[in-house]
Structure formats: structure tokens, C-alpha cells
């Protein structure tokens, strides 16, 4: 059963230079207890997709389509109603903990704030819960650490605090946006392990550009390019049998896979290429790819790709 179901979602922003088409007709289902990886490069619209689920986008954004969570369309809720969903039902763990944490508030108090708001606990009980959460994300000496400020935490510790904050109200679903970005190799490994442990009983949309990390954590992976989903499959299939030329190119450009570059660069979301969005960079592109737009089709059981090769 799907917990979250996105249909025909379009998210566009007006800017001085034109309309940024960040999300272009996306359909996506996330099942209960599924951990789905959303992979893509800078500017492909993956963060915008995550933000649109809990409606954290500026008011000038135009959003079309439906985002159904437990059957209710999140896009139709009032601001008051969506506030009850945010943090409590669906929590977001943001990238860059250094700027996401309030530098002048004690870490424990920041975590307690959300608990007070959603669970109606008093100050003392909320603080005790915050300490408990810090323990859950394996911050040593949590009682003392809860009374420290973010600058006294290392990068990895701050990320742990962010995770604790996300989990504080025991949400059913988590949207994690690049939680391992900017962390050192050894710290990254610890955070990946932690994320895996704390989400075993949860539903998660895991947004990242790091395929290695997604492979460790996710059950299924979907690949996003220029505001569209190019491929969707279970994690093993994405690595063993990547179907879309972009996924193949992406894998091959990893240093461990031979560092073979994809030619050209990602298109601007203002001025999207005609036909298949990937055709200017694709080695297999022909006349049809330049003019016609391919659909996401099921090529093998539960393995979808958006490419004419399989049509």
C-alpha cells in the first residue's frame, strides 16, 4: 500500500530570466516502510520535489497535480492543516546542518521545540525527550551535550542532531535531503549506518547525488534529470542493469567505475531541450529523440525507464 502518492506533479517558479521548470509531470508512489532513493545532479529539481511534499516552497511557486498522503491531498490543505503534518507526520532532514541549526539556541532546546509543539509536553518533559533523542542518534554524554550550542558540535555531530530533530515526533515518513553532503569519509559511513538503523520502521524519501550512499540505505532508486524521472527500479537492478543512458553514464562517471564522463552539461531548467531531455548528451540519440518526448515505461517487472530504446 502506498503511503505517499504523487500524480502529475509540476512545480514551476517565475524568475527574472524566465520560468524555472523544476519538476515536470512526475508520478511517484512510496509504499509504507519503503526507503526510496531520489538520485540526481545539482539543479535537476530533486530538492524542489522534496520540498513540495511538505509545501516549503515560496508562495510565488505554481504547483499542479496531486500529492496524496494517507489519501489526503497535501496540496489542498490549509496552512494550519499542513503545519500539523510537518514534523509530526512527515519530517524533513535538511542538508547543511551548520546553517539549518539556530546558532544562538542550545541544541537540546531546538529539538525540544518541535516536541513541545506537536506532542503537547511541558518544557521539562520535552527537554528530557530531546536528550533521549540525542542518545538515540548516539551522541555520547547526551545530557551535557543537549545544553551546548551548535558551534560546539562537529559536522558529524550536527548532522546527528538534525536527524534527532527529524525523528523527535516519531513521524511516519522522513524526507532526507543530502544528509551526508560535506562530511568526511569516516563520518559519512557512521551517518549512513545511523540513518539505516533509525529508518528500519519508517518510510523515507532519501534525496542524494551520492549513489554509493543510496545503495547502502535504499530499497528502490529513482533517477531524476531535468525535472523528470528517467528510471525507477530496485537498488540492485539500478546497479546491475541500468537501462537509461543517463543512469549508465552516471554510473560510468564514478571514479570507481572508470571515470568515463558524460559529454556536455545538465540543461538549464528554464530552457529545456526538445524531445528527450537527455538527447543532447546521449550517445544513442537519433532523430526521434530530438523531437518526440519519451514516456516512462515498464520495461521489466517493476523496472521503469524513459527511453525510446525500450519503446
Amino acid at each position: 500500500m502506498s503511503l505517499l502518492s504523487i500524480t502529475q506533479l509540476k512545480v514551476h517558479f517565475p524568475t527574472q530570466d524566465g520560468i524555472v521548470k523544476a519538476v515536470n509531470t512526475i508520478d511517484l508512489e512510496i509504499a509504507n516502510n519503503e526507503r526510496l532513493g531520489l538520485i540526481g545532479e545539482t539543479g535537476c529539481g530533486k530538492t524542489v520535489l522534496g520540498m513540495s511534499i511538505i509545501r516549503l516552497l515560496p508562495p510565488s511557486t505554481t504547483i499542479e497535480g496531486e500529492i496524496r498522503y494517507k489519501g489526503n491531498d497535501l496540496l489542498k490543505l490549509t496552512e494550519k492543516e499542513i503545519r500539523k503534518i510537518r514534523g509530526k507526520e512527515i519530517a524533513m532532514i535538511l542538508q547543511n546542518p551548520t546553517t539549518s541549526l539556530n546558532p544562538v539556541l542550545k541544541v537540546g532546546d531546538q529539538i525540544a521545540e518541535a516536541i513541545k509543539l506537536h506532542q503537547g509536553l511541558d518544557r521539562r518533559a520535552a527537554k528530557a525527550k530531546a536528550v533521549e533523542m540525542l542518545e538515540a542518534v548516539k551522541i555520547p554524554d547526551a545530557t551535557k551535550r543537549a545544553n551546548e550550542y551548535p558551534h560546539q558540535f562537529s559536522g558529524g555531530m550536527k548532522e546527528r542532531a538534525m536527524i534527532a530533530m527529524g525523528l523527535a515526533c516519531d513521524p511516519a515518513m522522513i524526507i532526507a535531503d543530502e544528509p551526508t553532503k560535506g562530511l568526511d569519509v569516516t563520518v559519512k559511513k557512521q551517518i549512513v549506518k545511523l540513518m539505516k538503523e533509525v529508518t528500519t520502521q519508517k518510510t523515507m524519501l532519501f534525496i542524494t547525488h551520492d549513489l554509493g550512499v543510496a545503495a547502502e540505505i535504499c530499497d528502490n532508486i529513482t533517477v531524476m534529470y531535468a525535472g523528470e524521472l528517467m528510471e525507477y527500479a530496485n537498488t540492485e537492478a539500478i546497479f546491475k542493469n541500468p537501462m537509461h543512458p543517463y543512469t549508465q553514464g552516471f554510473l560510468n562517471s564514478l571514479p570507481s567505475m572508470g571515470l568515463k564522463a558524460i559529454k556536455g552539461m545538465s540543461p538549464s531548467l528554464i530552457d529545456l531541450p526538445s524531445g528527450c531531455r537527455f538527447h543532447p548528451r546521449c550517445d544513442f540519440a537519433d532523430a526521434k529523440c530530438r523531437t518526440e518526448h519519451p514516456e516512462l515505461i515498464e520495461v521489466e517487472k517493476s523496472h521503469y525507464a524513459r527511453c525510446f530504446q525500450y519503446a
Partner: protein, 254 residues
């Protein structure tokens, strides 16, 4: 080509109670002509400081740096300036390395103008030549850095560095701010250029896989010291130091 011995850099802070940080604590290695030495380590291990010390962008507390039989630390200011064109550095963030108010073409021409070997016509030809070498289009010459992508700007930085025909380049995380598909383009370009122009490179990175791809030998740095140094294969197939093994292991055991 380059040899450093017992290099140390202590940073001190505090007014009343002096605290000193041993950023680089007795580092020695050498780099052969035409070789790429990879320097890996986590943030704060002192790898960037080593790169800066080599070019004498900062003064070491102690140690010796011999570059092509020249004792770099004994040089006077004007002698050092003569040596500088032969030793160049590529920084992490290409957008911050370029003057935002200068057109790309002017940015590349600037070091040539300062050098004064070429007249303006010669510079123009050389700039176009460099733009082509790094895989940009001639039309990019009249653009500003903000109009180009991170990958393209890193190409501009490369062109600027190559303008002076350096022998030795310190590349400090040149691709850490780029996407994987673009990272691959830049790394492959650097490899090609190294071969064609017989460059010697110190390649600093936190990414072991990237370093493996780029380097002949690898030095692993931890808390200001080199804990292991060897050929890329030795490091990957038969790492000896426990820290190197931790870096290499696919998942941690806390």
C-alpha cells in the same frame, strides 16, 4: 623534482594562553618529475596546509623544500617571484578563484600580461589557444564567471594556470564542488594535460577513489603526519596503516 623534509607548521592562537595547533607535523616526501602524488586525508588533517607551504603561500615553522635543486625557503622575495610561474595552484572552488568582474578572456590573459613576454596580439592568440586546450569555446572569452557553470569555470582556472607553462601544479580538491559527471570530465582533462605538458602534480583530495585514478603514488595524511605512502596499487591492495584501512573499508564499525 620536489623534495620536502621534516616540514612543520604550527598555528598559534590565544592572547594570554598560547595554544598551538600542529597543522603539519614533520612531513617528508618527494615527487619525481612527471609524477602525480596523491595526498589524501580528512578535513583538518593538514593536507591543504601542505599544499600552501610547498608554494610558500604561507611560511613553515620548520623544514626544507627543494624544488628543482632550488632551496625554496632560502629565496628572497624577488627570487621567489621568478620561481612562482613554474609552481601553480588550483583551488577547490572555481567560482571563488576567478575575479567576478573580469571577462574569462581577460582573466586568462592577466598572467600573460604580467609576465610581459608577449605583445597584445601574441596574448590574444595564446588565450584562444588555451581556451581550446581546456575544451571551451572561443565565444566564452567574452563571458563573465557567473555566466558559466562550475565545471566550465574550473576549465578557465586550468587555462589560467597553464598560461604560465608551469612545471609543477598543486591541485587542492579541484573537483570537490562539481557533480560526478562533470568531475569525470575535469579529471580526464587534467590527466590528458599532464601527459601532454609533462606536468608534475600534487593532487590533494579527500576522495580515495578519485586519488587512485589520478595518482602514481599516494600519501595518506592523518593529524598533520603522513601515516603511509606508497604506489597507488600498494595502498589499495595492501594498506598497512590502520587509518588507511579505515578509510578503505566500505562500512564502518564505529
Amino acid at each position: 623534482m620536489l623534495e620536502i623534509a621534516n616540514l612543520r607548521k604550527y598555528f598559534s592562537s590565544g592572547l594570554l594562553w598560547k595554544q598551538s595547533v600542529k597543522a603539519v607535523d614533520g612531513v617528508s616526501f618527494h615527487i619525481e618529475r612527471g609524477e602525480t602524488l596523491g595526498l589524501v586525508g580528512e578535513s583538518g588533517c593538514g593536507k591543504t596546509t601542505v599544499g600552501r607551504l610547498l608554494l610558500r603561500l604561507i611560511e613553515p615553522t620548520e623544514g626544507k623544500i627543494i624544488f628543482d635543486d632550488i632551496d625554496v625557503l632560502q629565496l628572497k622575495k624577488n627570487e621567489l617571484r621568478k620561481l612562482r610561474p613554474r609552481m601553480q595552484m588550483i583551488f577547490q572552488d572555481p567560482d571563488a578563484s576567478l575575479n567576478p568582474r573580469m571577462k574569462i578572456g581577460d582573466s586568462i590573459a592577466e598572467p600573460l600580461k604580467l609576465q610581459g613576454h608577449l605583445n597584445s596580439g601574441g596574448i590574444k592568440v595564446k588565450v584562444l589557444d588555451l581556451i581550446e586546450t581546456v575544451g571551451l569555446n572561443p565565444e566564452h572569452r567574452n563571458r563573465y564567471p557567473y555566466q558559466l557553470s562550475g565545471g566550465q569555470n574550473q576549465r578557465v582556472v586550468l587555462a589560467r594556470v597553464l598560461a604560465l607553462n608551469p612545471d609543477f601544479i598543486v591541485a587542492d580538491e579541484p573537483t570537490s564542488s562539481l557533480d560526478v559527471s562533470i568531475q569525470a570530465q575535469i579529471l580526464n582533462l587534467m590527466k590528458d594535460l599532464k601527459r601532454e605538458m609533462h606536468l608534475t602534480i600534487l593532487f590533494i583530495s579527500h576522495d580515495l577513489e578519485v586519488v587512485r585514478h589520478m595518482s602514481d603514488r599516494i600519501a595518506v595524511m592523518y593529524r598533520g603526519k603522513i601515516v603511509e605512502i606508497g604506489t597507488a596499487n600498494d595502498i589499495f591492495e595492501a594498506a598497512k596503516h590502520p587509518y588507511t584501512k579505515t578509510l578503505l573499508s566500505p562500512s564502518s564499525d564505529d
